[in-house]
Symmetry: C2
Subunit: 156 residues, 2 copies
């Protein structure tokens, strides 16, 4: 047993690389839940490190925080999530990764054809005669739209 099962917000921040303000923001969004000390300070479970990791990874997959919340909502309420819970939810993430790799591969294939002719034209290449245009919806930034934008940190 660990000496201290509860960690302060600063430690959670340090261990996940997320800013303290972001953790408060996540709590406000309902992605995390904290216990409170008598004095009102937040105390997190060690398992929340894992939870924050999941948020970060899922975000990189292009999920919005609301979508992440939906995924996390499938974790059991009341008890600390166990390995099986995480396996189930991580498997869902894996499917998304697969889908993204597949989508990128298709784009690459189309782009290769374009490089051959140097065109990048919509009609000939079909690079943009795909689902994307139809997927236009409402206001807001494009990275929200489905998983098309991709927030994967780029390799320089």
């Amino acid at each position: 047993m660990h000496r201290t099962d509860l960690i302060a917000i600063g430690e959670l921040a340090a261990r996940t690389g997320v800013a303290v303000s972001a953790i408060r923001f996540y709590e406000a969004k309902g992605l995390l839940a904290a216990l409170r000390t008598g004095g009102g300070q937040r105390r997190f479970l060690r398992a929340d490190i894992r939870r924050v990791s999941f948020i970060l990874i899922a975000q990189q997959m292009g999920l919005s925080l609301d979508e992440v919340a939906d995924e996390l909502a499938r974790l059991p309420a009341g008890r600390t999530p166990n390995a099986a819970d995480w396996t189930r939810i991580s498997t869902g993430l894996r499917a998304r990764i697969d889908a993204r790799i597949a989508a990128l591969s298709r784009t690459r294939e189309l782009l290769d054809q374009c490089i051959g002719c140097g065109c990048l034209s919509l009609k000939k290449c079909g690079l943009y005669n795909r689902e994307d245009k139809a997927a236009q919806r409402g206001a807001g930034p494009r990275y929200v739209l489905g998983d098309r934008a991709g927030e994967i940190a780029e390799v320089p």
Copy 2:
């Protein structure tokens, strides 16, 4: 020669699937340049359809509009870009796609290991002990955290 080499903003919008407002926004950002009629209306070159395509594709790769602008700045000023120009710039895009696919594959591999143990823990999985932390530049002003890898501890 086409009968009409210049197209109105609405046509450019229709052909690319981008809103008229977005095209004006891109022009204001310097990603596009328009000629003007005597009456002050924008007229685009047909080649700008291709240019907008490039913007959209590059955005899907995760480039910000500023980064897209950098790429586009490498096109020759003064003359209409030709096939060779597009080939050069598209090839750069292809490299990015390759990098992305590789990064996703690594993530998937790590995630597979995690699914095995259900952990998602920082230390054991390495899913977050990678280049990602340093390379954060996703949606929103995410600050780049310092390397405190030595302090990352094991998770229950």
